[in-house]
């Protein structure tokens, strides 16, 4: 019984890691622009797919690095082509643009890679290897994802809190006009945020690829869960997104223990709706600050 409990917990952690690592990406663009980038899932997909392609002729670490760099370039390019030249776009308009971008990227990926599923090899071990802790088994890839997730969150927090560039990016989100008046090149900051979140999305896509498998259409599914945990935690806060990811993942996993698995997604969607109704600032968000945002 206890062993079973921990096995469900591990399953929840696995789900949580996937959600969290995707969810983090939403926060960066939100932090500079105040919008949700609905093409975030496509960055995750692009990262995974590019890495699989590069892995054919590069060693794994270089393939991942290459995929992250390429996706960053794509992220920057997308911002410059679709967003940069807009004069004071409304939040709604930008959100719709990102939805358009996500469809565009998905279709392009279908043309480029076809409909087949691919995946990177497991970083350590293979498809059946797992570490056993007193009968509870964990795939090493889950630990890899957890580790990468932790490192990314810590680095992001340091970046946004303690570097000039990070603070400038946050200033953009708080009040873009004021930031411009202070001499912050706000447009470059927005581009940078797309580059950064594309990079993190791509990295996420690479680490979870052995677990989730990668296909041109995988982005939107991952994005929905990532978006859910970003909202659940409170937008803009990476640490909160990770915590929310684990809460959602563990909830889903234990729901399977007691209910038919078919209800799993109903639970996460109900949770998202309840959150949006009752506490739109998120579990860990600041209510006061949230009220000041203009949507």
């Amino acid at each position: 019984m206890l062993e079973l409990f921990f096995q469900y917990l591990v399953a929840g952690l696995t789900y949580g890691t996937i959600y969290a690592i995707v969810g983090i990406g939403f926060n960066i663009i939100y932090n500079t622009t105040g919008i949700i980038n609905f093409a975030q899932g496509e960055f995750v997909m692009l990262g995974g797919m590019t890495a699989v392609t590069l892995y054919a002729f590069l060693p794994l670490p270089l393939a991942i690095l290459g995929a992250v760099l390429i996706t960053m370039a794509v992220g920057g390019l997308i911002e410059m082509v679709f967003i940069r030249w807009l004069v004071k776009p409304s939040v709604l308009r930008m959100i719709i643009i990102t939805i358009g971008i996500s469809i565009l990227v998905r279709e392009a990926a279908l043309m480029l890679w076809g409909e087949g599923i691919r995946s990177l090899p497991y970083f350590t071990g293979n498809e059946i290897s797992s570490l056993s802790f007193g009968g509870v088994r964990v795939s090493p890839q889950v630990l890899w994802s957890l580790g990468v997730c932790a490192i990314v969150v810590v680095l992001l927090n340091l970046f946004f809190k303690f570097t000039m560039l990070g603070r400038e990016m946050r200033a953009c989100a708080a009040n873009r006009d004021a930031a411009t008046l202070c001499g912050i090149p706000t447009r470059n900051m927005v581009t940078l945020s797309f580059v950064l979140s594309a990079g993190i999305g791509a990295l996420a896509g690479c680490v979870v690829s052995p677990i989730t498998q990668t296909q041109y259409a995988i982005g939107s599914g991952l994005a929905i869960k990532g978006f859910t945990v970003a909202i659940l935690g409170g937008l803009g806060n990476s640490m909160a997104a990770v915590a929310a990811g684990f809460i959602l993942g563990i909830l889903e996993s234990f729901s399977i223990w007691v209910m038919p698995t078919a209800y799993k997604d109903a639970i996460s969607i109900s949770l998202l709706l309840a959150m949006l109704f009752l506490r739109p600032s998120g579990l860990f968000g600041n209510r006061e600050a949230f009220k000041l945002k203009d949507f």
């Binding site: 079973l4 096995q7 469900y8 591990v10 399953a11 929840g12 696995t14 789900y15 996937i18 279908l110 076809g114 409909e115 087949g116 599923i117 691919r118 995946s119 090899p121 293979n126 498809e127 059946i128 290897s129 797992s130 056993s132 088994r137 795939s139 979870v208 677990i211 989730t212 498998q213 296909q215 259409a217 995988i218 599914g221 991952l222 889903e252 996993s253 234990f254 399977i256 223990w257 038919p260 698995t261 078919a262 799993k264 997604d265």
Partner: protein
């Protein structure tokens, strides 16, 4: 003035239309070329394009060229319905091949029936042809036969306590229904019965539930990529019981996706996957070798049983037209219903007014995965 002109045009059109129709036979195809079931629809569409080009180069069927109109439904039943109406009402097609998935086929079964359009589905669910609809046929082997084949193998291995996992699609639901229906007759007890999302990214909790039920074998019924995740997660959490899959596993990319976890998976499938190792005197050998060779040399991609379903659908349509020796829908329908001994990729078809699938349990061969390849299960 306008109304008179319009009337005149209508009369002219009425004379022209049959004349044009006489030159070609319009065949519609509703296939999930992109979207979540693209692994079905894409090879099916490619197969049809190849076959149509081939047959037109040889002068067509009975002197008439085939005009193929492929509609990409992206596996959405709603899109399948609107494409079916468009093909029937606007394009006035002679017959429709597809859809690729069971859910879509069930959505348009009545539309085909009511408009008296021959529908040759490439989807597996038994419900498509049971109860029989006059104009609806299907080429993939029946899921009930796949279940029977699996249960027979289980009986042989004295396995009776099983856990069932199925995906939340038409294919998954239909298979789950057949498993539940047929299990008592074969002395199989279902101790866990879970449905997972077709787009799932990890299924550790689901397989944990099956593990907790202490089963002797797992049946994993799905046609989507998520089925490979089930196998990986099951082995990762230490389930050693044999895993049985549906005929929806017959795509080498799932074996690649599941890697080491795919080794030893047992599943029923058409013989296309083992075409090269079939004995020379097997009735399907020639058809299978030719199709896989043609497809692979043209598209530089491995042939799958799914493309084969479209091959069979087209073959049956052509045989029907040839046998009826006319392009009268009713005559061709009757001809198809009485086709016998048609060697296709899925098996040797014997249609009858009560059997619009024409295949039985022998169309399946039990296969397994060895060193990343499909091989015939040693008996």
């Amino acid at each position: 003035m306008f109304s008179r002109l319009a009337a005149a045009l209508t009369i002219v059109a009425a004379f022209i239309a049959p004349a044009m129709a006489a030159d070609t036979i319009k065949v519609g195809a509703i296939l999930a070329v992109t979207g979540p079931a693209s692994f079905l629809g894409a090879p099916e569409a490619r197969t049809l394009e190849m076959l149509v080009a081939d047959i037109n180069a040889k002068g067509g069927v009975g002197g008439k060229k085939i005009e193929l109109i492929i509609k990409d439904s992206q596996a959405s039943p709603e899109k399948a319905i609107s494409f079916a109406k468009q093909l029937i009402e606007e394009e006035k097609v002679f017959a429709i091949i597809g859809p690729s998935t069971s859910g879509e086929t069930m959505a348009i079964k009545n539309i085909a029936e009511e408009s008296k359009t021959i529908l040759l589905s490439c989807a597996a669910a038994e419900a498509i042809v049971n109860p029989v609809a006059k104009y609806v046929f299907k080429t993939p082997q029946k899921d009930s036969d796949a279940v029977i084949k699996i249960f027979q193998e289980m009986q042989k291995r004295k396995l009776s306590r099983v856990g069932v996992l199925s995906s939340n699609t038409g294919f998954g639901n239909a298979g789950k229904g057949q498993i539940e229906k047929l299990a008592p007759a074969y002395g199989i007890m279902i101790l866990a019965n879970e449905v997972y999302d077709k787009a799932a990214t990890d299924l550790t909790a689901e397989v944990t539930k099956v593990k907790a039920a202490n089963v002797q074998a797992i049946i994993n019924w799905s046609i989507e990529p998520a089925q490979a995740i089930v196998i990986k997660n099951a082995r990762q959490i230490g389930i050693t019981a044999p895993i049985f899959q549906s005929h929806g596993f017959g795509n080498i990319q799932y074996v690649k996706a599941a890697g080491a976890a795919a080794e030893g998976v047992i599943f029923p499938a058409g013989r296309l996957l083992v075409a090269d190792v079939l004995p020379m005197n097997h009735p399907q050998k020639a058809v299978l070798v030719k199709y896989t060779k043609d497809y692979e040399s043209k598209y530089k991609d491995e042939a799958s049983t799914f493309g084969g379903h479209a091959y069979d659908a087209f073959l049956i349509l052509v045989k029907g037209i040839e046998k009826a020796n006319s392009t009268d829908k009713e005559a061709v329908r009757t001809a198809i219903e009485n086709l016998k001994d048609v060697v296709g990729t899925g098996g040797v078809f014997y249609f009858s007014p009560s059997d619009h699938n024409g295949l039985n349990v022998d169309a399946f061969e039990m296969l397994t995965v060895k060193n990343g390849k499909f091989v015939v299960l040693d008996q």
